[in-house]
């Protein structure tokens, strides 16, 4: 082991400071008793109270959760299939299709899906957002599953087959349990990506389908009250809970990822 390098630790510490200082400020200013929220005035809980009476915000949060749940579910199934296929066969088209959406800037997927939905005469709304989210989530699940599968011993399945197990039983009792950490890691990633997505949702959202990030964007743009801070603080708290919960339940997700 090398000696601890002071310079290295100090510079890394500064980067951590850079990462966390802004978030601390958001949290602190959510308790600021000033509508303008430019300088510190005094402590208050009122923005949180206001938030829980803000119907638009609650509606948007609800939309976000519905979209994230449905798209994570669908993308997890499709992504798992894709990951397994990519691991077992030498395919050309599928890896290209799976990886390209990850490699493209979000805005491109947003505008091309907007064009597509309009051309096929589809009304923009929750459904169009879900279809878009599934598209960009599949790749992340597929990658996680593929990585997990490549570390799996194929002899296990072959042995079970030789012992007379049906393919379905093999899948259910051997492949699936072994793949589960990979699938869950992928699903978790898909969920956070979906609930966090702004750019693609911005282009594919329609009437009454505003999501939390869209709502935050319009609030940030108009910059009215510390309610933005309050909702941000709650969101951070929620992700913190989800992440710690997931890492407790399935520590394997966070190892080797």
């Amino acid at each position: 082991m090398q000696k601890k390098n002071v310079l290295l630790w100090v510079s890394a510490g500064l980067v951590y400071l850079f990462l966390y200082l802004p978030l601390v400020i958001v949290v602190v200013f959510s308790f600021n008793d000033s509508r303008l929220n430019a300088e510190w005035v005094g402590f208050t809980w009122k923005w949180y109270g206001k938030l829980f009476h803000n119907r638009e915000m609650l509606g948007a949060a609800m939309n976000s959760l519905i979209i994230a749940t449905v798209s994570t579910g669908t993308a997890t199934i499709l992504g798992t299939l894709a990951g397994m296929a990519m691991n077992q066969y030498r395919l050309r088209l599928l890896p290209l299709l799976v990886l390209s959406p990850i490699a493209m800037p979000d805005i491109l997927m947003g505008v091309s899906l907007l064009l597509f939905f309009i051309m096929v005469n589809m009304t923009l709304g929750l459904l169009s957002i879900m279809l878009a989210h599934i598209t960009f989530c599949i790749g992340f699940v597929a990658l996680a599953v593929q990585a997990r599968m490549s570390s799996m011993d194929p002899a296990l399945v072959e042995a079970a087959r030789d012992l007379g197990a049906s393919p379905w039983r093999c899948f259910r009792e051997i492949t699936l349990p072994l793949l589960l950490p990979g699938i869950l890691a992928g699903a978790l990633m898909a969920f956070t990506l979906s609930i966090d997505d702004f750019v693609i949702t911005f282009f594919t959202a329609g009437v009454g389908s505003s999501t939390l990030p869209l709502q935050i964007y319009s609030m940030v743009k108009i910059a009215v009250t510390p309610e933005v801070n309050a909702v941000s603080t709650l969101l951070m708290l929620l992700t913190l809970v989800v992440i710690t919960g997931a890492s407790r339940l399935y520590p394997a997700i966070f190892r080797g990822e």
Binding site: I25, A38, Q88, M104, V111, D196, F198
Partner: protein, 295 residues
């Protein structure tokens, strides 16, 4: 089971069909749209006309001509690429020590330190931008402190909000984890015996770094750079919120065509150029990565 064709198709067909419909088809439609006329009130004009009972195509190269007739779009691209390159370099400068520190710390702390890098990345990206808007606001503590210090040395006050600096800080902040994670994954795999051997042979700290760690980490840097460069290139929210009068990137102009000017064909042209740029960067990056691994 491996050999059975139906099993192969059972696995690969559903995701392939989905992505063909919702990724490949839209991309192709966008390419097609670059040759169409804009509708008078937005959207796209029909691509065929009925003339005397016969179907004639109504397509044009006008949108591509518009791209080439002035140099402003070229300058726009160069400017965006400039922002993307600067952001990537800054992320590298800041991310490298961090990744190195995590990779060299004990196994017990490593997971926690890594989690601490990812955690901010899991809070909404607009929230993180907003945090910097508070910090940069003229009444904010940072600006006041800075201007107080500047006054002491006799320099005039500066505004941080709505400046290229503010944009760059935000771009780096949002994309830093994309650099740190692949770098860490690379650095963690290094064989520390190499460094020990070099030390035994009398190599100093910096020499060891430049001769061993740095060259070995180049593939990690390439991966991280691609992951930072591409999303920055297509960014529009940060210039929108913090850019001021000069902060405009290709993403903003694309958004303008679709959301404000109602000129979808030209928006598609710009999008296609961005697509080609992104593909080129990815190919170049994977080429570089492969060559290094071959060595």
């Amino acid at each position: 089971m491996q050999g059975k064709a139906w099993y192969k198709y059972l696995l690969s067909l559903p995701p392939m069909a989905y992505l063909l419909i919702f990724f490949a088809a839209p991309t192709f439609l966008m390419f097609f749209a670059t040759f169409r006329y804009a509708g008078e009130y937005g959207g796209l004009a029909p691509w065929y006309l009925h003339e005397g009972g016969r179907l004639t195509l109504d397509l044009t190269l006008e949108n591509w001509q518009r791209l080439l007739e002035t140099d402003i779009y070229l300058r726009l691209f160069l400017k965006s690429i400039g922002y993307a390159v600067t952001t990537t370099l800054l992320c590298m400068i800041m991310g490298y020590p961090l990744a190195l520190m995590i990779a060299r710390s004990g196994h017990k702390n490593r997971d926690l330190l890594l989690l601490l890098v990812i955690l901010p990345f899991w809070s909404n990206f607009l929230v993180r931008i907003y945090a910097w808007m508070i910090i940069f606001s003229p009444a904010g503590a940072l600006t006041r402190m800075l201007n107080g210090a500047l006054e002491l040395v006799g320099a005039g006050p500066v505004t941080l909000m709505y400046s290229p600096t503010a944009m760059l800080v935000c771009l780096v902040y949002v994309h830093l984890p994309f650099m740190v994670l692949p770098l860490y994954a690379n650095l963690e795999k290094h064989d520390l015996d190499l460094l020990d051997a070099a030390q035994d042979l009398g190599a100093g700290k910096w020499r060891r770094f430049w001769l061993i760690t740095w060259p070995l980490s180049l593939s990690g840097i390439t991966a991280g750079s691609i992951l930072v460069f591409i999303p920055v290139l297509g960014m529009f929210a940060i210039p929108d919120l913090l850019g001021g009068t000069n902060g405009i990137m290709i993403g903003n102009v694309i958004k303008q065509q679709f959301m404000e000017s109602r000129d979808w064909p030209f928006g598609s042209v710009l999008s296609m150029v961005l697509t080609v740029t992104a593909v080129a960067v990815v190919l170049l990056g994977s080429r570089l990565g492969r060559r290094r691994e071959g060595r």
